[in-house]
Symmetry: C2
DNA sequence: ATGCAATCTCAAGCTGACTTGAGGTCAAGC
DNA sequence: GCTTGACCTCAAGTCAGCTTGAGATTGCAT
């Protein structure tokens, strides 16, 4: 609650490695909040460093900002989260990682079968299933491993 | 070498589940080649079905079209690849999958440590390393797990 | 021979995740 | 009190990976 707990955007940028513009963009997207000084400058909570760390890790896993925002929704907004808050959300992320590892492992197994025959065919190996993508319409970047 | 070995774009689209427009785009990007009929219509090799299957699988792994194009470079262009050609390139893909699984596993281990203390901090856990991204400049979608 | 689906080209649009630039304000040190 | 750097707001640009649309042509089936 101390005044020292509020940091300007540049400091947050240095601490996270993010560009200032990126942080502003995240705020606009609703991934974090800030208060303003008398002179209209943003001030963030120190704990937002962690918040942004989470964003970065989740992005590495291929999550989109919308999904990350959802996950962050379980954290208290505008208040420093507790250790327990972070443990909960970290576990959710862990689940996501597990799922991806499983998917990759399955893909690898299928590919191994295919290497044997050298076919790499949709029909025969079912490595790549047409039906999967039927629903996933729309433009924009493809989603990684579903 | 038979005339039957040449298929129009719509057939290729149906066989791969891709949109016709996507195939045209891939050709423009140099991921495959086609010959033209007298009336300027594209004709593809039957083996391009496999070629595109490979593209789709590699995309699922998060590879960009540029990298996929590189990988495909080891295949003969405009000629039906042999079983051995496919085996070679499949193994390369398998290596890529292995690398990703390892990376995910490491990330998960680190996250596990972090769940213990609930910190999720850049400095303390080094789950997310600033230096990693220093070189990865430029706009556009972030690369998944490096 | 004709009709209709499939194909062609080319330009423009779109999503996600940002960056860049212009033009202006704030604040801390000297 | 003045300079210098950090900060502000828009609007517009960028990149990947496509899609959409307009307007014209082709080619198989009857």
């Amino acid at each position: 609650m101390n005044r020292n707990d509020l940091i300007p955007i540049g400091t947050l940028a240095r601490r996270t490695g993010l560009a200032v513009s990126a942080i502003r963009y995240y705020e606009e997207r609703g991934l974090l909040q800030s208060v303003r000084t008398g002179g209209n400058q943003r001030r963030f909570l120190r704990s937002d460093i962690r918040r942004l760390s989470f964003v970065l890790i989740a992005q590495k896993l291929g999550l989109g900002l919308a999904e990350i925002e959802q996950a962050l929704g379980t954290l208290p907004q505008g208040r420093t989260p507790t250790v327990l808050d972070w443990q909960k959300i970290s576990r959710a992320l862990r689940g996501e990682i597990d799922r991806r590892i499983q998917l990759l492992t399955r893909t690898r197994n299928k590919l191994d079968e295919c290497i044997g025959c050298g076919c790499l065919s949709l029909d025969r190996c079912a490595l790549y299933n047409k039906e999967d993508r039927a629903g996933a319409a729309g433009p924009g970047p493809r989603f990684v491993l579903d």
